[in-house]
């Protein structure tokens, strides 16, 4: 059993979001980087659990990023996984990134590809679906539970307006979200071990991007809160009805 887990680097959830170069670049100075929470908490940890129940399982991590992504990949390896592959490219185009991952997936003959449900920076929720199409594999999006029996996966997933259970034969691509697993903290042994795990750097396959970011924009600041005295909540209801007209 071979699992490929897609890992993305994102700014910490408390990072201040600002832009430079005439609003064309994210201001990364002083920003703390983390593993995209969905990739770490759900995709990676569920893969590690599968390996714990079947030690013959091999987990590879893949990321598309430049050398500054290495600390994030090492952090992921500290949680688990056997080796990592970094495709040496910097891109915000989902198709370009998915094409790189699909290329790695083809070469490695994986039974399962796990992604997080989306990244918390570019919020595309596109990589899993694109990789699946590039590999011509079934895609189960937004999985909340994943169980394996031989080569049959039983997956609970969220659909619009509810949940459903799917039965699918491997190989397949799954995007993971809350419910799949519980967040883990890497231990000392994991952190030490991660240093000697292989991290292979490969050059990207040439692919034309479909999109490019022209500029960024911050939302306008709020005008300021209008406080209503606590002893007169009826006034709030009146304002919401008569002035704001939202109820």
């Amino acid at each position: 059993m071979k699992i490929l887990v897609c890992i993305s680097k994102t700014p910490d959830t408390t990072a201040k979001i600002a832009f430079t170069d005439n609003n064309t670049k994210f201001a990364s100075d002083g920003v703390q980087w983390i593993i995209n929470p969905y990739d770490e908490w759900y995709a990676l940890v569920r893969a590690i659990e599968l390996k714990e129940s079947d030690p013959t399982t091999v987990i590879h991590l893949v990321t598309v990023g430049q050398a500054d992504t290495d600390p994030i990949i090492r952090k992921a390896l500290a949680l688990g996984g056997d080796e990592a592959i970094r495709v040496n490219a910097d891109s915000h185009d989902s198709f370009f990134i998915a094409s790189q991952i699909a290329e790695i997936a083809k070469q490695g003959n994986y039974d399962l590809v796990f992604t997080g449900k989306e990244t918390i920076d570019y919020n595309g929720s596109s990589i899993g679906g694109m990789v699946a199409e590039l590999l011509d594999l079934p895609y189960v999006s937004l999985a909340i539970k994943f169980a394996l029996d031989g080569t049959t996966a039983t997956i609970e997933r969220e659909i619009e307006g509810g949940e459903e259970t799917n039965k699918v034969q491997l190989p397949l691509v799954v995007s993971c979200q809350k419910g799949m697993a519980e967040q883990r903290i890497p231990n000392m042994k994991g952190i030490m071990g991660a240093r000697s795990k292989p991290l292979k750097v490969v050059e990207p396959t040439p692919v034309e991007a479909y999109t490019s970011i022209a500029s960024f924009e911050l939302p306008p600041a709020k005008a300021g809160v209008r406080l209503i005295p606590a002893d007169n909540p009826e006034e709030l209801v009146r304002i919401l009805h008569e002035e704001a007209r939202v109820i």
Partner: protein, 321 residues
């Protein structure tokens, strides 16, 4: 050339988020000087001709019960076939869970650049550029699509439904339907609840409510207002409320008309998921709670004293005894 809108259905009704996508597609088509068309996949029950009121000239139905369950792989193939046959140049989805499953696959199949999470009509004069949500609600990006065919997934509650006079022509499209490789063994749809992402009003509770036994303060108000209910992450983590109510950077991102926050501190990760709400009301006993900085209206007070009075006042407003 045309704009093709994917119409997601729930029990034979087109979802509200898809009606927004239809209105968006129609406005875009007008801008481009091409017709707007729609497509439904799976068994259709209701009168689709009436969708003409949202500006759609023609509705293609791929009417087959084999498509009633969402399999992104099978959907992609039939939609690609339709798009190619009709010469669609822009495809519009709602960026709901169905759109998230299908649009990326279709993007690859049609070699069409995808912008997921659009919040406004594209700029089409020079380069086709779409404004989308990034950094989980903390910023926007203007993304240019450079491919001849384009796909846009519109965030729910980002574009108003526009309805006028009009009847659409309904035509059946005979697509080649592949056997699904995904077997659906059970489906559990929530009925009678307002879906969180589509809700106009969301009433949300945080740890300040002290325990699940006090949630009546949230649900009673929600019921009176026809609102959906939400919660902060710790509230879902300690199982006071179901996980699917968790909003924020690592939960669901929403943009209702009114977000009513009760006993929530307004941590940056929480704000990320809700700060696109048009009006924000905060009830919190701590005047220093960060949420007040992001709010339009607020009361500094104890939820257990304030909320019952608010509920009584809303009852009076709605004429409920």
């Amino acid at each position: 050339m045309s704009v093709l809108v994917f119409l997601d259905q729930a029990d034979g009704q087109i979802r509200k988020s898809s009606l927004e996508a239809a209105s968006y597609g129609a406005a875009l088509a007008e801008k481009l000087g091409v017709p707007a068309e729609g497509v439904t996949v799976g068994t259709v029950a209701n009168d689709l001709g009436s969708l003409g009121q949202y500006g759609l000239k023609k509705i293609h139905t791929i009417n087959n019960p084999a498509l009633d369950n969402l399999d992104a792989q099978v959907y992609t193939k039939v939609l690609a076939e339709l798009a190619t046959t009709t010469g669609a140049t822009v495809l519009v989805f709602s960026n709901n869970l169905t759109g998230k499953a299908v649009a990326p696959r279709l993007s690859v199949r049609l070699k069409a650049g995808l912008v997921a999470g659009a919040v406004a009509l594209p700029e089409t004069s020079a380069v086709f550029t779409v404004k989308k949500n990034v950094f989980s609600g903390k910023a926007f990006a203007h993304v240019s699509i450079t491919t001849p065919i384009k796909i846009i997934s519109l965030n729910p509650n980002s574009f108003s439904i526009v309805s006028k006079e009009g009847v659409a022509e309904v035509v059946d499209f005979a697509a080649t339907i592949d056997q699904s490789k995904v077997e659906v063994t059970s489906v559990n749809k929530v009925v009678g609840e307002v879906p969180l992402t589509e809700a106009e009003i969301v009433v949300s509770g945080g740890r300040g409510l002290k325990g699940p036994e006090n949630w009546g303060l949230v649900t009673d108000l929600a019921k009176l207002l026809g609102a959906a209910t939400a919660c902060s992450r710790p509230v879902a983590d300690i199982n006071w409320r179901p996980h699917h109510e968790h909003v924020g950077q690592t939960g669901i991102a929403i943009a209702p008309n009114l977000y009513f926050a009760i006993g929530i501190s307004g941590a940056i990760q929480h704000l990320a998921g809700v700060n696109r709400s048009k009006t924000i009301v905060v009830i919190n006993k701590d005047p220093e709670a960060p949420f007040f900085k992001a709010a339009d209206y607020g009361i500094v007070g104890d939820v257990f004293e304030v909320m019952p009075k608010i509920i009584t006042a809303v009852k009076k407003l709605k004429g409920v005894a």
